[in-house]
């Protein structure tokens, strides 16, 4: 087992455990923090995959901006921390069961897919994850979606005005 593998497993375990913590922690703030941990783990994976740009963006946008926003909202609401009402056990059980079945099904599918057998992911190497090729692609081939996504932001902005205005 080489370093990469060790790192992979460690990060994966970390991500999964943190993700589970998001679910189980009663305190929403803890959930947010755990989710940030998941994002860090995922960023770690990005780095393993040499997708440096995304790793950075992930940290900045997700762990930074978005999660802070979440945290901010939670703080703003000042919800009583430990008294969040819980769903019935049976519903939770069914929820876990369905999530589990979904996972089983999808995993089964992937295992059945012959085309994926023996396919390797290129670790560390490759330059496509670096900012230069990405930027180039973004502003040549993907300039249209890039421009159009501005419409998305505009509409979100208008929406925030509509919704947020007292």
């Amino acid at each position: 087992m080489n370093t990469l593998e060790i790192l992979f497993y460690a990060l994966s375990a970390f991500a999964v455990v943190s993700a589970v913590m998001v679910l189980v922690s009663k305190n929403p703030i803890h959930s947010v923090l755990c989710l940030i941990l998941v994002f860090f783990a995922i960023s770690g994976h990005y780095i393993l995959l040499n997708a440096q740009f995304l790793a950075i963006v992930n940290i900045i946008v997700y762990a930074g901006a978005i999660m802070v926003l979440f945290l901010f909202v939670i703080m703003l609401m000042n919800i009583k921390l430990d008294s969040e009402p819980q769903k019935k056990m049976i519903i939770k059980f069914i929820g876990v069961l369905s999530g589990g079945s979904l996972l089983t099904l999808l995993v089964a599918l992937v295992k059945q897919t012959s085309q994926l057998q023996g396919k390797q992911v290129l670790m560390k190497e490759g330059t496509i994850g670096l900012i230069h090729p990405l930027g180039k692609a973004l502003f040549t081939d993907y300039v249209l979606p890039f421009e159009i996504s501005s419409v998305l932001f505009l509409s979100a902005m208008v929406g925030a005005v509509i919704i947020g205005k007292k």
């Binding site: 769903k87 519903i91 979904l102 099904l105 089964a108 599918l109 059945q112």
Partner: protein, 639 residues
């Protein structure tokens, strides 16, 4: 010829339209003259037609095609031959007399109803003429149903009376049962022969095309038709009830003409009937049973018209016996004589009822002999004629039938004679109770007793003469006669089969039957000349008085169950089963609507859960080969 025959039929129709449409316009006098006059005209043309037949033989005339389709054709043709021309004479002749009689009998009615009465009567004659003149079974059927309709209308003439209406309805429905048989027979003929014209159906070639089953089936169905119209067991109960109509109607329709339609029809189709031994037996047995059954009932009836009605049923039974044993001309002979004397008797009874102010119970009469002399004499002649005393007409006709019956089977003959004896007995019981002895009615009635006007007595006299002498047309060779009628009908029914019996036997039979009849009538006279019947005492008496409880039997065994069945269909099957299924579908939709609505619980958590589950379901549907099991297998058996 075409015009003459057409006019025979048209006159009554014109009368019907005239009276029917002008019922609020014309005075009673006009109505009476016109109505009677049209039938009289019809009679005159009938005589012309008859003479023409005598001179030139049978004739068929074509008017138009009633139904003419690519595959099938029913011409509107009339046929006058010996048989139909005779019937024409009887129908229009007796018809004229009865119209005449009616003008006086119905004079108390208001003008519109008076007109209505004559319109019906004219329509009846029209239908009856169609029946006998038609050259095919369909035209006959038209007349056949038409006379049933008129019978219905006339029985229910006094429509405010519920009982009369019921009687009318009963008559019509029973007739319809028979009509269905007739109709099916017609269809059978059409299927097999493709035509219904007598000219093609009633020939040897056609007969050859029919199998035995066909012939038996067709004839039996035809006979069912005859049963209904001619009041034979089991469809006879309407006829006594039909006495609810005005008495002239009873005389015309329910004695002289319509009820003999069955005999006409069978005589017309004699080729078919003769070809089926089985049917002939059935006809004979049914006829004989009817004759006896009705006669027994007549013995105990107290309503003057009821006695005559059962007598009619009984006599019709005789005619069918005659048909059944192959004595077609005998049957027709009896039809003719019966038309005279039974019309006479009914009209006489009408005269009595008229005098008695619509009293019909003979127990309340008696001693009318002196008060109503003409009625009395003519009625007596009628009684003698029907009792079969020579040389009155009934003797000859009945004798011809009995002789033929003997030739077929002595038992038929014996039972026939028993019936004849009963006939003599009940007729003279009727006569004696009505005319002899003391008057038993109220003072008021006695005060008003008077002989009927001439318009009523004239028909009585004419009919009495006819009843007395009509036998002349069929005096057998045995007695020095020419048997004219039989020769007349020979082209249609073939020569009579008298030859089967020796003269010796014939004379003996005649003597026996006449003796027994005379004895019976004398017994009746002796019993009833002084007193009327009381309430029946014996079980048998009650049984007969209540007409064998046949009406009750029909009521309980057929009508009520059917009614219940209909009620069951209406209330249970229709409402709950069929409509229930339809409404149930609607209810099911609504029920499931209410249930499925609950899925939409409002909880977004459930929604997402359902989405996930549905997604899993989709995967399972798609991935329905046992991929999951395979996967689980691999997990546990990792090599």
């Amino acid at each position: 010829m075409k015009i003459i025959i057409g006019l025979i039929v048209l006159w009554p129709l014109v009368g019907f339209l005239f009276n029917g449409l002008g019922r609020n316009i014309w005075s009673k006098k006009v109505i009476a003259y016109k109505a009677t006059g049209y039938i009289a005209m019809s009679f005159i043309f009938s005589v012309l037609a008859f003479l023409n037949v005598q001179a030139n033989g049978a004739a068929t005339v074509h008017y138009f095609d009633f139904i003419n389709t690519a595959s099938f054709k029913i011409p509107f043709d009339f046929k006058v031959d010996a048989l139909s021309s005779l019937f024409l004479l009887v129908i229009t002749g007796v018809g004229t007399l009865i119209h005449l009689y009616s003008t006086a009998y119905m004079k108390d009615e208001e003008a519109p109803h008076y007109a209505r009465y004559f319109a019906y009567l004219n329509l009846f004659i029209f239908s009856m003429l169609l029946l006998v003149l038609g050259d095919n079974y369909v035209i006959m059927f038209i007349g056949w149903e038409g006379v049933g309709l008129c019978s219905y209308l006339l029985i229910g003439y006094w429509f405010t009376n519920a009982t009369y209406n019921y009687a009318a309805k009963k008559a019509f429905i029973m007739n319809r049962i028979g009509d269905l048989g007739f109709l099916l027979a017609i269809f059978w003929l059409i299927v097999k022969l493709g035509t219904v014209s007598y000219g093609t159906v009633l020939t040897a070639e056609s007969l050859a095309k029919l199998s035995t089953t066909d012939i038996t089936g067709i004839t039996l169905l035809l006979f069912v038709g005859a049963m209904g119209k001619s009041a034979q067991i089991p469809l006879y109960t309407w006829l006594p009830d039909a006495m609810a109509g005005p008495t002239p109607v009873s005389a015309l329709i329910h004695a002289a003409t319509m009820v003999t339609a069955g005999i006409y029809m069978i005589t017309r189709s004699n080729i078919l009937f003769s070809a089926s031994e089985f049917t002939q037996h059935v006809v004979a047995i049914v006829g004989l049973s009817t004759a006896l059954l009705a006669a027994t009932i007549a013995i105990k009836q107290n309503d003057i018209k009821k006695v005559l009605a059962y007598s009619t049923v009984s006599q019709l039974g005789y005619m069918f016996l005659g048909l059944g044993v192959g004595a077609y001309s005998g049957a027709v002979f009896h039809v003719i004589t019966h038309a005279f004397f039974k019309a006479l008797l009914f009209l006489g009874a009408g005269s009595v009822i008229h005098a008695m102010h619509h009293e019909q119970d003979i127990r309340k009469m008696g001693g009318l002999k002196s008060k109503l002399p003409i009625t009395h004499i003519t009625f007596l002649i009628g009684c003698i004629a029907i009792a079969g005393v020579p040389p009155f007409s009934g003797f000859f006709s009945k004798d011809e039938i009995l002789a033929a019956a003997f030739a077929k089977s002595p038992i038929y003959w014996f039972l026939g004679v028993v019936g004849a004896a009963m006939t003599a007995f009940y007729m003279f019981r009727l006569y004696a109770t009505t005319f002899l002895g003391q008057f038993r009615g109220t003072q008021d009635q006695e005060h008003h007793l008077h002989e009927s006007p001439v318009a009523m007595t004239l028909p009585l006299i004419l009919l009495a003469i006819a009843s007395a002498i009509a036998g002349a047309i069929g005096v057998p060779e045995l007695m020095g006669g020419h048997h004219w009628l039989s020769h007349q009908l020979a082209p249609i029914v073939g020569e009579a089969q008298e030859a089967a019996l020796s003269h010796q036997t014939e004379w003996t039979l005649m003597a026996v039957s006449v003796t027994i009849a005379v004895v019976a009538l004398l017994i009746a006279l002796s019993i009833y000349r002084k007193k009327a019947d009381g309430e029946p005492q014996t079980a048998l008496g009650k049984f007969l008085y209540n007409k064998w409880y046949i009406d009750e039997l029909y009521e309980n065994a057929i009508l009520n169950p059917l009614n219940k069945f209909a009620g069951f269909l209406k209330e249970v099957v229709e409402k709950n089963v069929i409509d229930g299924a339809v409404n149930g579908t609607g209810k099911l939709v609504q029920y499931s609507a209410r249930q499925i609505r609950l899925l939409q619980s409002g909880q977004v958590g459930y929604y997402i859960l359902f989405m996930v589950l549905s997604m899993i379901l989709l995967f399972v549907i798609w991935f329905n080969d046992i991929a999951i099991l395979r996967f689980l297998f691999q997990l546990t058996h990792k090599s």
